[in-house]
Each structure stands twice: as structure tokens, then as C-alpha cells.
Subunit: 374 residues, 4 copies
């Protein structure tokens, strides 16, 4: 953000920048989510019946405060974006706008506090907007839209036929519950999703046979749906992991001399692991089942009184894989660190197929030991 | 269709042909689905109780209109099919017939408008008939019919035993709810599918133990069912994608010099991507995670004021994969276009295993640059 | 069976043998299942309340007849088994015994017809015993018993804690519904399986929060369960297919000259396809997406007036794979036939990796064409 | 434990050691679980209303006994642990403490027997603590926490929006059931999980449309959840199996001369199989679909009167794989034995890719036959 602001020719004044830094950086993603939760609790409590006036006033105050903060945050972000219109058109910015605008707008248009607070529901979008998994779902739904639509079409047709059949079977016996096909549709949807409210239940023999078939076919349809989503999801997840890991792998000097096939295989096997500052990555005495490459940040290896710092490009934990046995040191992240984790199962396969990699690790190991010994 | 009509020796007269073109081509798949939806809404509304006579007349009129249009469409299609009997026996034509015939037939046989409108439910089949995923489901069900039947048999046996046990456990305490094994079957089906209407609930200790076991075993059976359908589905989907992509890959001059093993691997990795006219395929400035080969149709590369047209056999988007970084141009489909999409994860693996392909892409790239420079 | 009886030194007399042949071979698996269904319907109808005495007499007669036939079948099978004790200990024979014995035993012990008919429920086991998928499920459950038991243990613990918490939260407000932890357990099981009868519903805020958590955690547990069963199932299915196809592949003279690695790969790709007598395997004019090897039985290729018979070891349908386009002939199974099906997606990959196979197919093709031309 | 106690400098006195051995070894994992079940039954029965005083006294006595045994077990384990503080901090020890402490503590703090018995619910943790699958689930949840949290966030947002919409749609018609958004939330959660208690059911057209959408979207969310858990689970399971099998494979002298790539592939294919003492591993006459390597323990091959003992490093069952046909001998585990099982499907692929392995097996076979013949 700061780097971006430097590039912008019309640099905003310092006061706004400090506020922006305060709200956007200090608050952070977690703070923004907590603020949204606070607002949502106020919104939820505000709809309870027979609320004393003093409580209601307090809830309105909370809602106004949350709304103002979110609106301010949006305006500051817009102001400090290098290309304002482009930023405003990004999905994240649009969600920010839809979350921030309704409550102030409602107050501005003269709505009652009770009504204005209701628009606080849009703050729930903040929980999604700041979630890294959000883009993932959107992409999976987009990739798999064709078969998903196909199952949905079959679902609609089955529900329509089931409702018509139930209407014909039940309307003599229960004229009030199955008085039309739309009324039978309500029963059919609650039955095929196996929700089964029980407010409308077939009473005839034919209707019950039909209901059994609807329940069973519903399971089948949802099994198809689940299969499509699950397979699309796991494929997309693998793709993301590869991309993230590839970006880090090609930057590691350790792998510089390996060819493209080896790099491609390594990137496929390494998993990116985020460690916060002061997080313990491996603990002495625990069984070791993976080695780590430091991609970004810095870690400290602690063994008794000895402390060794490892920066980006170095690795640790390989002894447990080569020799077996528990970890012989504790490793702690000193700053926010990105590690590449190589699992023992993949290490063994990789070492067999890419003997070069084993050599690189042993050489680096020797170099580091020599360096440490000096 | 037109090409087919040319081959037919007994060419139908021009008026019918114009009507056929109008209904079958102008209307299109989406139009036919919308028409079916209109008819279905009229059918649904027509079953509501206490409908004023004027409304009912209007709904009957809509149903008659939809029925006539579908009947006409079927007759025109039949007339213009090159081999009429063969066409009439195809599943698509049979579904068209089952959708189109009932309402006119009901009116012809002197049914009341209320009864005749009921047959409009068959228009729902149009939603499936025109859905490309329909054949997919039919094939998966056929492929996996043996294990599916096996789970169903186990399901039937479990339900029968559960119903008998519930009958024995509950008939003393609730003689009206569990008065026979068929009555207990109704409870067992609603319980094993976890629908749980709540109209019949065991009251004895033994009955409740049994109900718990039935619920849990139901989950297990449906998990098996879901697993069978999901794995069969993903296998069939992969097969289809390969077939579609293979058909396009072997026709691309770009791949002419590659051997069969390379072609087979490329076809397995490329995903067919349909773009409508004027659809944006890649947008300048967005992160690039795939390259595209034009298989059919034409696209335009737009970068500032420069516009380059790419026809079938050419490709774009490779720069983002080779150099990383965001897209440096926007690409728009000029007509209905079929593209083959190569994902970055597959590109890197493929380039490593098939160095020939990299050479082909670089050569073509050079050739195209030279051509553009002239 | 007949071959087995020949080997037996103490050959049973001809009358019993004819009866055995009649019941065991003429009746067949489908007949036995239909007989079981008939018996089950009589058993189900016999439990209906207020049944007229004449109906009841008829149902008892049906049950007696079915029971006698099944008992006779068991005794004949036992008599004609080459090693009687061994046969009697097989799971299939034990299921036969459990299905056949209860009803005659009940009558023998002087039970009322109503009670004796109830034991007809055991005929349901015949539906499983004769199902080829039965052994599959038993094996999957056995293979995956450890993780399945693990999820079940977690399930039990979650349900116990949820019931205790609900008891504590609700017993003040609803002392009659949540009067003990066992009563709350009934609610917890119906909730965690998402059955939701609605006979016991939490009314306090804490109880509802708890109920929400129970519902959601139930989904998670069942997702784990489904994942275990589904993956175990697909693994076992693949194993069975390989075994069946391997048995046929090694017997085909066509593959005699291929080495073990090629055979192993071919067996993995070929799918066994059962065709009844007179079944159409491929139909002229339809799109071709697989070739077939005849493993057992005989098929006839029909193209216009020409008819060619292919016996075990020969193949067909390869033209559609090599040249593309629709099938140029119809192929019909003359007798019960086992075919090995090679899908186009696998054919292309296989031809690339095993050029030997392509040569074998082309050579055989040439040989057959020459033979036909004579 | 005994070996560990030897290493400890401050060896506890003999009486405590005998008690420790008795409780910790004789009782065993199964005994501990049975004891926990006994305690849980007493706890459950103790909450039933209107319990006679004598019964209550007996239940209290059972609970006190179970509580004392578990407390004693914890103290003995703590005393005999080589590093007491380290042991007390392990998850297993913490669970032991949480299970053992509450009931004695409640009695010590003067709670009534009814209240003290309630804390027996914590004994349920013993069922998890001793379950080998427990660590597996914990690890899967940890690995997949990011996408799981993502789906949960979407779930929360959908539920909040659905509840708000239902509140707005229904509060006019059903002011008592949908009197606030929190009340509507209760309906939304029961609906999206398809539990469907039926205590609150939308009555308006808009509310029912919404309910249908909520049910369907709930299925989609849970399908995603199931997909994430299932794929994470199968990946982790494969990893564990590899680790366990690798540990055994590298110790087998049989494989000493094979290179790392072969070892890695063998470890991936072999499945660890635990056999209790006297368990039959293969039975003469049954179809053979796998061979076994003895990794730990001893088995006896029984064929007629001949008995051959096989110790760690030897194998059996290979004849059925090489020659086909049923098992020609019965093999029984003499002691608790760990076997490595090689499935026929993997044996054939492995023999083709690793001809060395076939040679090793044949050589060992010859050596063993010669040895037996002497």
C-alpha cells in the first residue's frame, strides 16, 4: 500500500495517510472481522421484541459507530488506491461498498433506527470478503457450472413431477394440505432435501410410496452434487498450492541448478506453510515427518544453549528424515515466515527419482556445518 | 439441419422450411426452455384452489398456445429430418414427443381444461432434453448400475428388518402408529433417509435404540451410494473432456509434427473452453494462469490501440506462463469460439516432459512476431 | 454342480438330481429373488390389522409354500454338494439356512400362523445372498474397520457430551422432555444425524446454540464416514475389476507375445463387460468410443447382409478408434458373452506407450481380413 | 514401561510397581474402555427420574469405584513415567487427567452424589484417548483448517442472510415464531442442516421459496465440507500407512539389496496387517489374492501334518499369486504378529517394474525349500 502510494502522483495529505495506516494496517483483517461481528451482534439483538428503550439506544449507537468506521475505511482505501476506478471495480472493493453503504444510507434517507439497524446484515459480507477461501469457491462454482446446472435441472424436473403426483394422490384425503401443485411443491422440496418438517405428510399408500422414492432420489441427486463440488474443489486446491509453491521454489538459490522437470516435481510436492512470529515450527523430541525450506522470513534453531538463525534459502529438519528418530532441536519463527514443507512420504520418493536433490541437500548441509563450526 | 435437408431427396416446400428455421433456429435451446417454463407456471397456477374464471381462461389460453407451439415444433422437426424414422427413435425426439403430445391429446379426448392443463407437467422434460449434462448422468447410472443395485438391495433388506423390529417393539405402546409392518416401513424409510417427518416416533427404549441404529446405518448406505456416483461421475467427465479435446487437438496444424504419445498427453491436459461472441477471454492486468489455443472461431488481441486477430490454430496467453506477471493484453472472442485452455500447472509439467512442445510454441511465437512486424 | 456331482463317489439317486436341477438351475438367481419377494409381500400383508380370515388363510398358504420351497432348495443343495460340511459352512449356505429354517421351525414348534408368518422377514436375506455386490461391501467394511471405528468412537463421545449438556440446559424449562440424560440422548442422536423428528426440541438459548453445534458437527462426522467408505469402496472395486480382467487377458492368444509389464497395464485398462445372448453390443451408425475383445462366448458382426462370427480371442470396434467416425457395423452377442472393453481414452494412451499392441492389432486385423476374403 | 523405569534413576518401590503393572498392563486398553463404559452406564442410569434410593446408592458406589480406579491409574502412570513433567504434558496424559479428576474433585468439594455422578461424562474421553484414529482426525482437521474455516464462514453468512430474510417475510404472519432475527436463526440452522424439526415452518410464499433455497444451498455447503474432509483424510491415511510400512520394510533383510527407489515403491504398496496370537492369516482352500511378509512375530504354516515356522523376514502366500488357484496351506500367527501384505494387483505391477524383487522372492523361495528339505 505504501509502495503503491509512492507511485501515485497525487499523494494524499499526511493526516489521511496516518488514518489510513491506522485503520487499514493496525486494524487488519482480524480486527475488521471482529468489528463486523460486533456490528452483527448489535443488529441481531436489536431485533428482539420488547427491548427496553435504553438498550435500544445503546445498540443504535454501536451500529452507528460500526457503520461510520466501515464507511471511513472504504473512503480511505479508495483515496489511497493508486488507480481509484480500477480499485473500486475489484470484487473486494465492491463487497466493501455493499457492506459499508446501506446503514449510513438508511439513516440519511430518514429510516427509523430499528429499520436502519436491519441493514447491518450486510456487514456479514466482511466475513467472506476477507476470507482467502472465498475466491476459491467462486472459481470452483464457475469451473463446474455446467454439470452443477445439469444436476439442478434434473432436480427441478424430479421435484415438479413428484409434486404433481403427490397432488393427485393426496388431494382427496388431505384437501387442505395438498390443495394445489404449488402446495405439493413445498412438500416435495422439504422431502427431497430430507429436511422433513413434518407439516405436510402423505397419508395414502401411493403417496407414501412416492415419498420414499423422492427421499431416495434426493440422496442420489445430492450425491452427484457433492461429487462434482468435491472433485472440482480438490482439483482447484491442488492448482493453487502448486502456484504458490512454484513462486517460492523458483526463487530459492538452493534449487538453482536443477532443471525444469525437477523444479516442476518439487513444486508439486512442497506445501506452503505459514508461521507467525514466535510460532514453534518443530519441537525437540517430537517425531519428525517432514523437512522445511525457509522461503521468506527467518527462523531460529534452538538446541540447548546453541542458537542458529536460518534465513530464506536455507532448510532444516532433514536429519529426522534421513536418520529417522525424533527432532534433535526446536525451531521457532522469528518473524512472519513462509516455509515450504516436504513430507517424508514425498521426500523418499523424490530422493529416489531426483538423486540430484539429495546431493544438493547434502552439499548444503556440509557447507552449513562447516560454516557453523568456524 | 439445413445441410441435412439438402441431402434429403424429397425437399419439403419453402413455407414449412421457413417456419422450421424460425422455430428451431431463432427460438433456440434457451427459447424452448423459457417457453417450457412459461407453460409450467401456467400449469402450476392452474391448480390453485378458488381460481376466478377469468384467470382460469387466461391460463388455459397460455397452455393451449404453448402446447400448439411444441406440437408444431415436433412436426416441423420430424418433417425436416433427413431420415424421419431414425430421428423419431432418438431419445431427444422421443422426449420431444412425450413433452408435446399429452396436452393436445387430452383436449382432443374431451378432457376438461383443468385436467388437460395438468398434462403440462410433461413440458418439464424439455428442461432435461436440452441439457448437455443429461446424457452424462444416463451413462454414469448405466456404468455403475451393478454396485448401485447392490447398495439398493442392502438398503431394502435393512429397511425391512428395521420395520419388522419396530413393529414388534412399538405395537403394544402405540398400536395406532405401528399397527402393521407396512406402517412401520413408512417410519423406517423416513428415518433411514434422515428425513424424520416426526409423524411416527418410537416411544419404547428398544424402539429408540433401533431408531438410532437405523439413522446411523442410513448414513453409511448413502455414503456408499454417494461414493459410487461421485467416482463414476468424475471418471466419465474426464473421458468426455478427453474426447472433445482430442478431436480439436488432432486438427491443429501446430501439433502436426508431434508424435502420438505427445498428442495423447496434450489432449489429456487441454480443457475445452467455449466463448460466446464478444466474451472477454483474458483481461489486461489480471494475473495469468493459463494459455489458450484457438480451436474454432476467431479472437482479437487488444493492447492499447493495436488489434491482432488470431484464427484457428493460433494461441495466446503464453507470455504470462513463461515470464510470469499479469496479462499484457485483453483478448476478446469475435465469434462463437472454441478454445483449448492449458493451465499453468500442466504447462510446466508438459514443458518439462515434452520439450518439443516448448520449441513448437517458441517457433510459432517467433513466426507470428515476424509476421506482425511486417 | 453337475460336474461336481460326478466327482462325488456317493452319487445321489436320479429323482433327487432332477429336482435339484429343476429348482437350482431352472429357478435361478432371479427366480429365487422373485420367490423371496412373493414371500415378503405375503409376510407384510399378513401383519395388516383387521384382516378377513379368508385373506389370512391365503397368505398363510403362500408363506407355507415359499417356506417349503426354500427348505427343499437348501436340502437339495446340501445333498448335491461335493463336500457337504464344507458347503454348509460357506457364508452363502449359512444365509440360505437362516433364510429357510425359521418359518418351518415356527410351525413345527406350534406357533400361531400369524407368528410363524412373521419369521418370513428372514427371506429378505435371499436378496443379499444372491447379490454379487454383497461380498464387496463386507470386504470394504473389513478393510476400513479401523478408521470407521475411530469415527464411531468420536461420534459416541460427541453424542454423550451433547446429551449431558442438553439435559443440564433444558431440564428446568422442559422437565418432561429432557428428564434424564438417556432421554436427552434420544434427542442428540436424532439431531446429530439431522433426522430431526421434532418430538423433542430445545427451548433455551444455550440449548439451541448447542443444537446448532451438534447439527454441524454431525455433518462433519458423517463427511468423514462417507469419505472413508467411498475411498475404500472405489479402491476395492478397482481391485476386483483388475482381477477379473487379468484372468481373461492372460488367456487371450492375442496377447501371448506381450511381456508381463504390457499385460499388467492392459489388464488394468480393460473393463469386463457382460453381454446376454442376443444383446446388441455396438450399433451401426452410433458414435464409437471403445473397442472390444471377445473373452468368452461368441458374437456376430452384421453389416448389411454380411455376417461374420467372432469367437473368443478376436476383437471388433477398433476401426472407430483408429479412423474415428460412427460404427460401421452392428455386433450382437450370440450366447452369454464376456467382453473386454477398451475405452478410446485408454486406447490412445496405451497405443502410445505399448506400440507392440498396435502392431498386434494391425496384424490380427490383416490376418482376419485375408481370412474373410477367401 | 518397564524398560523406561529401568532408565529412571529414582526407581519407585516394588509394591507400587506391581500395582502399576497390574492396572496398566493387565487392564490394557480394552479393559480401560470397558471400565469407562461401566462408569458411563452408571452415570446415565443415575440421571433417570424417580430412582429408588437403593439403586441410587449402588450407582454411586459403581461411580466411586470407577473414579478411584481411574485416579489410581493416573497416579501410578505419573509415578512410573521416566520424565514426569514431560509425560504429564502429553495429550494422552492430559486427557487421562481430565477424565480422572472431576468426579473425585466433586466429592471432595462436597457435591451431592447426584451432582458428582454427573461429572462421570468425562470418562467418555477415555474412549477417544485410547483410539489410534484420534491423532489422525486431529491432524486432518489441522491440515485442512483453512478451507474448512472458509466454508464455515460462507455457512455463517448464508445463515445470517437467510434468517434476516425469513424474519422480514414471516413476522407479519407468524409473529410468535419469527419474532426476532435470533429466533429466525434457529429456524435457519435447523433448515440448512436439513434437520427440519418442524417447530418453526415458513407459511408465506416468499418464506417458502427462501426455505427451498436454504435447503439446497445447505447441501452444497456440506458437500464442500465433506469433500475437504474426505480428501484430507484419505491423503493422511496414505501417509500413515507409508510411514508404518517403510519402518518395517527397511528392517527386512529380504529387501537389503534393493535400491532406494525400489524400497520406496515397495513401502508404498505393502499394507501393514496386524494379527493377534492364534489368528488364522490364510486358510487352505480359500482363493489367494495376496502374499505376506512377516515383519514382527512368528507364524506357523500348516499343511496336513507338516508344520513350518516362519519368523520375521520370511514370507508366505506367494504361490497363490504366481501360480493362481486356492491357498495350499493354512497359516496361523503364533504370537502378536505384524505382517506386510502385498495385494495381487500390486504384485503384478511390481513384478513387472521391479524384476529384481521377483528374483529375490524366487531365490529366497529356493533357499527356504532347500533348508526345509534337509
Amino acid at each position: 500500500m505504501v509502495a503503491a502510494a509512492k507511485r501515485s502522483p497525487e499523494d494524499p495529505p499526511g493526516g489521511s495517510r496516518a488514518a489510513h495506516g491506522l485503520l487499514s494496517h493496525r486494524l487488519g483483517a482480524t480486527g475488521e472481522q471482529l468489528l463486523a461481528c460486533l456490528g452483527l451482534v448489535a443488529f441481531l439483538a436489536g431485533t428482539l421484541p420488547d427491548l427496553p428503550a435504553t438498550y435500544e439506544g445503546a445498540l443504535t449507537a454501536v451500529c452507528v459507530a460500526v457503520a461510520l468506521l466501515f464507511a471511513l475505511l472504504y473512503l480511505l482505501r479508495l483515496r489511497h488506491a493508486p488507480a481509484r476506478l480500477n480499485w473500486a471495480m475489484t470484487p473486494a472493493a465492491l463487497i466493501d461498498l455493499v457492506a459499508a453503504a446501506p446503514v449510513p444510507l438508511a439513516f440519511a434517507l430518514g429510516a427509523s433506527p430499528w429499520t436502519a439497524r436491519l441493514f447491518g446484515i450486510f456487514w456479514a459480507l466482511k466475513l467472506i470478503r476477507l476470507n482467502p477461501a472465498f475466491g476459491l469457491f467462486a472459481r470452483v462454482l464457475h469451473n463446474e457450472r455446467q454439470p452443477l446446472m445439469g444436476v439442478t435441472a434434473v432436480f427441478v424436473v424430479v421435484v415438479l413431477f413428484a409434486a404433481t403426483a403427490a397432488f393427485l394422490a393426496e388431494r382427496r384425503v388431505q384437501p387442505e394440505a395438498f390443495d394445489s401443485v404449488p402446495a405439493a411443491l413445498w412438500w416435495a422440496v422439504a422431502t427431497i432435501t430430507t429436511t422433513g418438517y413434518g407439516d405436510r405428510v402423505p397419508a395414502t399408500f401411493a403417496g407414501r410410496l412416492l415419498a420414499g422414492a423422492v427421499m431416495v432420489s434426493g440422496i442420489g441427486l445430492f450425491a452427484l452434487w457433492a461429487g462434482i463440488l468435491a472433485s472440482g474443489f480438490s482439483q482447484e486446491l491442488r492448482r493453487r498450492e502448486f502456484l504458490e509453491s512454484w513462486d517460492l521454489v523458483v526463487r530459492l538459490p538452493l534449487f538453482r541448478d536443477l532443471g525444469a522437470p525437477a523444479l516442476s516435481e518439487i513444486a508439486r510436492l512442497l506445501k506452503v506453510h505459514h508461521a507467525r512470529a514466535d510460532a514453534v515450527v518443530v519441537r525437540q523430541g517430537q517425531p519428525g515427518d517432514s523437512m522445511y525450506f525457509v522461503a521468506e522470513g527467518e527462523v531460529e534453531v534452538r538446541r540447548g544453549d546453541r542458537r542458529v538463525r536460518l534465513a530464506a534459502g536455507q532448510f532444516f529438519g532433514e536429519m529426522a528424515l534421513i536418520a529417522g528418530g525424533p527432532r534433535n532441536a526446536t525451531v521457532v519463527a522469528l518473524v512472519q515466515t513462509r516455509l515450504l514443507r516436504l513430507d517424508v512420504i514425498d521426500f523418499r520418493g523424490l530422493a529416489a527419482r531426483q538423486p540430484e536433490l539429495l546431493r544438493v541437500i547434502e552439499a548444503e548441509n556440509a557447507r552449513r556445518s562447516a560454516h557453523t563450526a568456524e
